[in-house]
Amino acid sequence: MQGNGLRIAATAAFLLIALYSLLPTFQNARNGSRLAAMDPAAREAYEAANGDDLLATRERALKLGLDLQGGMNVTLEVGTGTLLRELAEGRTDETFETALAAATREAADSREDFVTLFAAAVEEARPDTRLARYFRNTSAGITARSTNAEVETYLRAEVEDALQRAQEIIRQRVDRFGVSEPLIQRQGTSRIAVELPGIDDPERVRNLLRGTAKLEFRLLPEPQVVQASMQRVGQYFADREAGRTTGAAPADTAAAATPAAGATADSSRPAGDTARQRIDVDALTGGTTARTEATPGAAARRSFAEMVQLSPAGAASPVVGLVARTDTSAVRQMLAEPGVRALLPPGVDLLYTASAETSTTDGTEAFQLVAVNERVELGGDVVTDARAEFDTFTNAPEVSITMNGEGASRWRQITSSNVGKPVAVVLDDVVYTFPTINGTIPNGRTQITGSFTRDQVTDIVTILKSGALPAPVNIIGERTIGPSLGAQAVQNGLRSGIIGFLLIGLFVTLYYRVGGIFAVAALLVNLVLLFGVLAGFNATLTLPGIAGIVLTLGMAIDANVLIYERIREELDAGKSMRAAVDAGFEKAFAAIADGNITTFLIGVVLYSFGTGPIQGFAVTLMAGIITSVFSALVVTRLLIDFTLARNGQRRIAFG
């Protein structure tokens, strides 16, 4: 019996600690069901009164991963290329652009950071170039005489700083969005992972996260001029599409028989070209990939006339056409072709409006295509405050912005000299509204109206107030899980756990009799400790994690099996019960240790190289190993010793 005092103390202590760590989890579950039972008004009052308590409990409870409660996981990448170009402040040249493009290409399969790649690419494009010529910045101590190494250090610091700012800005935006437990983490040198439980509007989140809040006021070109050139663009595509079909005919008779098929097969090349061009453009700007990246297949299969419903020639509106939601990126690509750019008046951009309207002929959702000047009259950097307001007459939600002194005076100038003309409010290359200027606006206060919903207004204000991201961010990975599927997963996991536990318990009890019952008891202790460890260390329970626990059930038995087999052997060899138990535990130890250490090491490797769900699995695997070894060696031993001490015959059935 010696040493059992320690065993009892350890088991009791660990169990208490585990239960204590699990307490908030139980409380949280109880809070949840109590809140669900209240009527909405009472719930609101209760939440207002006990908000802090509820939050504290929830924060300390065992967290469920996104795959179990539904939500959204977004991995963002900060566009380092754009940041470098901004740091160069317009001192770029051909070498710079070539090197930037090369570095962007190489970054795809290199472990080096972007700055190193860029520096190497500059060196290759034009040896002995001083990086300082691009990145001179007296306030940062970078002069024309700075060495390349100094400039690189400065750039790396800037990139790091930009990433930190981006993370902070994203945190602010997410916080204002009102998600219960957002998780925002840095990943590697240029990525930010955002986890948003319980999100049901993924599109809104995407816009909120990657909105760079590039607010611009731009004037609009003469409508008639633009409308006329759009007619020419339409003709250009009509000619090309017709020419392509007939051109393909002699070469391929099958295609001639079915013109549509011919067009499809033939147009794969141009589509590929635009796709490549798109990659280059995006690589350079580092931005808007998510919006423009698209479906060459779709682009190739439908003609321009089918996708764009042009406004009538000579219309006095800046709206040049309507494009269905599904065609926007294909049309954007087509309009970016050099042949098309040449037909459009210089200095004019064609941008989409922010909200879709159902006004095309077949009733699908469509965006307006608006012609605006490339020239930015006033930028968002002059905005000092933004608020959500409601229009005094229509009560429609709108965004009200306040400008600083410089912005206000520029705005007065612009409005006074353009009375009666429209001005476009462009946010992140999307036209929100293009009202006609009714008169001079003197104080720098202005409203952005549009067919906004309340949510949209809130989001725009959030983006404007949190400030512009230092560089554009792209969504490079995303996972959306519906809440009902998450609930289903929890249910499945629980059910598997319970059924697995019962079956394994039955099996070992049948096989080892009393020993089996002890093993089941140890398994129960193991489960309590395991959940306690997970809750105590703030781990997140994921679906693979549950799988890990169910698997642990099976493997945890192993230690007991090793011990019992040894005890049986020793008993068969004629030893007394007491001696057999001692020998069994002692001899089984080496195998238990070896097996569990190797599996634990696997867990460590999985944790260090894996991401999200894999780490969840690794954590439960490692925690499960520690708790199961403890349960088997200490708890089982305790139960056996205790029974032997009380049992007069000093025998335990090991089957």
Binding site: A108, G188, T326, I476, V605, F609, G610, G655
Partner: protein, 311 residues
């Protein structure tokens, strides 16, 4: 209850059976790995995966055809658990909202009463996928290296080599089975992060099984000096046979339950582990120990007596 107690099977005597079975499995697995080969999932290849629920069962072939028009020819459509849930996988990434809209619109047009709704969606950009792939590659490599170092530190090098060869055998055969399952059954068995986790768990389990036998050999080596090494090895396998089977069955119970009740998402994971545990149990009996015996015969250990004499 006692099964497999005090067995005296001659595993060394039938080692050729094990070698032939393993040899055939390895060759078949290697062929399967070349063609059809493994298919990388969205995690490692990039692309978008969606689960779409439809009101009425739809024809998979026609769905694929319809979707190929908008999402590209590489689009795959598989059944996901029930006939009303479709798993759609496409190399497209980018504007997820657009891909989702295109999918539902196309399905609604092709099957008027299907009323498709996109449930979960999962998108990984190509570059991100490259990084995940690298991470997975290093974790498998790292896992194997860590185990090798541990076994080498704890045991004689013959055991270390035996354990590593066994693991190599297990990993290749399991991957081969994945390739076959993916190509010739309706089960989608693409290689994802979850499958990599399963693979490493299999490695852990297999090494655990192997080490238990090795431990017993080493322990009895000192006890029965007069016995030949093959006899010792046989005795060790037999002595641990009951433990090997009971632990294996317990783990299999957990996995079968997971397979049946764990839901669609865990099915691939549970099946992968199920295959791996069976294989790991087999290999700890028929592969790892015979290898050590062979290595001992080829590179005999100088016993204490010999060493003493040499001194």
């Amino acid at each position: 209850m006692r099964i497999l107690e005090n067995t005296t099977y001659d595993f060394w005597g039938i080692r050729k059976v094990g070698f032939i079975v393993s040899g055939v499995l390895l060759v078949l697995a290697l062929i399967a790995l070349v063609a059809p080969g493994l298919e990388a999932g969205v995690d490692f290849k990039g692309g978008t995966e969606m689960v779409v629920r439809v009101q009425n069962p739809v024809d998979l072939g026609r769905t694929r055809q319809a979707l190929a028009g908008v999402l590209g020819d590489e689009t795959e459509v598989k059944m996901y658990g029930s006939t009303r849930d479709l798993l759609i996988r496409t190399p497209q990434t980018g504007d997820i909202e657009q891909i989702r809209t295109q999918t539902t619109q196309t399905l609604a047009a092709a099957f008027p009463d299907s009323n498709p709704v996109v449930g979960d969606s999962y998108t990984i950009g190509a570059r991100f996928a490259d990084d995940l792939y690298r991470g997975a590659f290093y974790s498998v490599l790292g896992g194997l290296a860590v185990i090798m170092l541990y076994v080498l530190a704890r045991y004689d090098w013959r055991y270390g080599l035996g354990a590593i060869l066994t693991l190599g055998h297990d990993v290749i055969v399991v991957l081969g089975i994945f390739a076959v399952l993916n190509a010739f059954t309706p089960i989608s068995f693409t290689i994802t992060q979850t499958i990599i986790a399963a693979l490493l768990t299999i490695v852990g389990y297999s090494v655990n099984d192997t080490v238990v036998v090795y431990d017993r050999i080493r322990e009895t080596e000192g006890l029965y000096r007069s016995e030949s090494f093959p006899t010792l090895a046989n005795r060790a396998i037999n002595a641990t046979l009951s433990r090997t089977i009971i632990t294996g069955v317990s783990t299999l119970i957990a996995l079968v339950v997971l397979l049946l009740f764990g839901g669609e998402e865990l099915r691939g994971f549970a099946l992968a582990l199920l295959i791996g545990i069976v294989l790991g149990t087999y290999s700890s009996i028929f592969v790892s120990t015979p290898i050590v015996v062979l290595l001992r015969e080829r590179f005999p250990v100088r016993t204490r007596a010999v060493r003493a004499a040499a001194r």
